[in-house]
Each structure stands twice: as C-alpha cells, then as structure tokens.
Symmetry: C2
Subunit: 206 residues, 2 copies
DNA sequence: AATTATACCATACAAATGTATGGTATAATC
DNA sequence: GATTATACCATACATTTGTATGGTATAATT
C-alpha cells in the first residue's frame, strides 16, 4: 500500500500522468514552470518525496527520466466525441459528450479520436455497446474494413464495401439490413477507419 | 504521400517508434550510441533528412523532442507470451509463441504482457478467440475482475471470486461450469489482472 | 520544547543536449 | 563533368538538465 501524498505532491503526480499521456515526460524546469516555482530544486524535492512514497521512479541523471509506477492506477480523461450507432444511426454530437477514463496504457495519437459504440449491429464483429473504437481519419478506407461514417447527420460504424455505383455499409448482425448509398447521394461522409477496439476492465461488463 | 526513406533513415525511424512504445524518446546521443556513431551530428543530419521527408517533427532545442507523425502507420511487434484459455485450460508456452503488431496507440506498460485468448467461455464478457488481453501482474486481484491464472500448468482467463475457503473462477458463458479451487490446492497460481482488451482491425474478423 | 515533514528560495556545477560549422568520401543524377 | 544526396567524422558552444548544498518558514507530531 502506498503512503498518502500531500495535495501538492498529488498535483505534481497528476501533471506527470497528464504529460505522459501527451507522450513526453517533463523536465524539472518544465514542472517548475507549470507550478510557478522559481527553482528546480523545489521540484526536485517534491519528486524525491513522491518517489519515496512509491509512486514514481527517477532514473538518475537521465533527462525526462521519471517513470510512473502503478501505471494502471492512473487514469486520464479523454473526450468522447459522440456515440456511434452499430445498429440504427444515432445523432453525432458536435462537442465531447462524455469522457472515458483511459488508463495511460492507451496512448492517443494526435489525429485519432475515440467514439463509444452504442448498439449491437456489429456484434458478430465482436464490437459491443460501451466499447471504445479508435478511429483514424487519415487512413485510407478499404473494402471490408470497419469504418465510421456520417449519414444524414447521424454517425454509424459499419463494414465498408465499395461497389461500382454505390457504397454499401454492412452490419455483421443479420437482423440489420445493409445500408446502400448511391454515389450521387450527398449527405454521406466517411469519417475514418476503425483501427482498433479498446475496452477497459475497470467496470464490470456484461 | 511521403518520400522514400533510405535504409538507414528507416532504421532510425524504427528505433524512434520502438523507443516511443517504451515510453521515452531518445536523445541524439542515445541514437548515436544505438547505431555506433561517434558523433551526434551524424544523427542530427539523419533526423533532418527524416523530418524533411515528413515522418517526424523535431521540436527545436527541446530535449527528447522528436515527434512521430503518421503514428498509426507505425506498428511495433510485441511478443505474445502464450495462449490463454477462456474455455478449457490450454497449455502455456515458456517463450513467445507469436507477435502481434500493436499500433503505438496501445502503449504497453513495462510490467504488462500480452496473451492471446482462445476459446469462448468469456463470450458474455465480450472477449473472444483472437483477442489480445493486456495482463498486469502487479495489480491487486479483486473480486469480480477478470484474471489470468495458471492451474495445473495450464492458463485460463476467468472472472475471479474469492470465497471464505476457496477461490472460484467463473466463465460468463453458462455452458462452462465454474472452476472451484480449494485453498489447500497448490497447483494454482494467479498470474495477473486483465487491464484491457485490444483487437486490431487489420484482419477481417467474424 | 524538540523534532520532523512540508514547502519554498538562491547559488553553484558537471554533464548532457541540441545545434552549428567545416571536412572527407561515395554513389547517383543531370 | 558538375551537381546533389547520402553517410559519416571532428570540434566547438550556449543552454538545458539533474543534482547538491545551504537557507527560511510553517505546521504537525512527539
């Protein structure tokens, strides 16, 4: 069991976790700057205290060498941009509707975003309500891949098939009919390709 | 479209991706050391070339300040240590049996490892054959969590319940009976807690 | 009353770090 | 034949970085 951190130590640790989620650990100077300290020694001493209590490990003389221990106990909120329907289309929201607490284990590349799935039309592709799909708008959409698309101002996640004069969005669940979009139809936009599915085990599922 | 990298540039870029997956970008000196260069300027010039071709961004004067662009095109092979049965116990392998290409989006904490699931006893917890479970041995096992355990030299992934004089491993699939282990039984060992599930979308599933 | 933990500051220093400049050599391209 | 890209080297330098030491002040604990 870890010892209790003081409020300031907790704030510094949170800053470390947040930094790590952005991909780069801060230097002492950057931490000092963040908290308005005029001196790196102040930070140094806080870090020593945090290390002594077992939350981090400082790698001697290595720049940006702070390691987070107990990584999976640190959670950072990530915005969820909307809910995406695996069954019938759902409305997509302009701003983040919710946040999901991803462990620092799940790094977000800058150009990807998260969507939470609602509905069960992709259940035969093993994607379920509550799953977070990692969506990348910069990956070329290919036949047979699972994509996120906006159709009439609603978002869907479906398997993509390009035909000669139309685009078909298939569900894997036979209860749902494929959506067929004629090429002339304008209220259709591909958002991105689903590159992965991530599910945390923090909350009991099922 | 990106310009073609030379072989050396490609190797350096791969080293950067690998480093990032380990959580910390290298300094010029560390790269030089890795490739046997006697001088940081050599690295500096390679990085300039890689940046010019659009693969990375160097943040001026910032230590370890290399950013990876096109992150989702970078995949790093991670060893899968074995197969884990969600149904009946499977043999566990001493060494890596395979590798999976995880995108850099899925960060591996140093102390976690990957196991590939085989079997469908956890299908009601939405874990299926082929899924990669991220397992952390340093997280306290709690009631109701999904854990990996070794039972008679076979590995299983099940939901964990501690009773007064026994441990029960439950499947979510009613077709499988719970495994009940008496406290006196010795050929049982908890391996770790499943902290996440990752599934790539590269191969067609279903 | 004495001790300890916390929360800052200033000053100092060796090593690490990114950067710059100039040089050599080879292969490919124009 | 001239130019350009590639692939190294050496030397140099201003900053950055982690670390060390010593100091002040407050609150909590013994």
């Amino acid at each position: 069991m870890q010892k209790q951190l003081t409020k300031i130590q907790q704030e510094i640790l949170e800053f470390l976790v947040e930094s790590k989620s952005k991909g780069i650990m801060p230097t002492l100077a950057e931490i000092a700057n963040q908290f308005g300290y005029k001196n790196r020694s102040t930070v140094q001493q806080h870090l020593q205290a945090i290390e002594k209590k077992g939350y981090i490990k400082r790698n001697s003389k290595l720049s940006r060498g702070i390691e987070l221990l107990l990584e999976d106990k640190f959670f950072i909120p990530q915005p969820i941009l909307g809910e995406v329907a695996a069954g019938n289309p759902l409305t997509i929201y302009p701003d983040a509707i919710d946040t999901v607490e991803l462990p620092t284990i799940a790094h977000m590349p800058r150009d990807s975003f998260l969507l939470r799935v609602k509905g069960d039309s992709l259940k035969d592709a093993y994607i379920f309500t509550g799953d977070i799909v990692i969506t990348n708008p910069n990956i070329e959409v290919e036949n047979g891949k699972i994509v996120v698309a906006i159709l009439d101002d609603a978002a869907v996640v479906k398997r993509f098939y390009k035909k000669s004069d139309s685009i078909e969005l298939h569900s894997e669940n036979p209860e749902y009919e494929p959506i067929i979009i004629k090429k002339s139809y304008e209220n259709f936009k591909l958002v991105g390709t689903v590159v992965g599915v991530y599910r945390t085990m923090n909350k009991k599922v099922g």
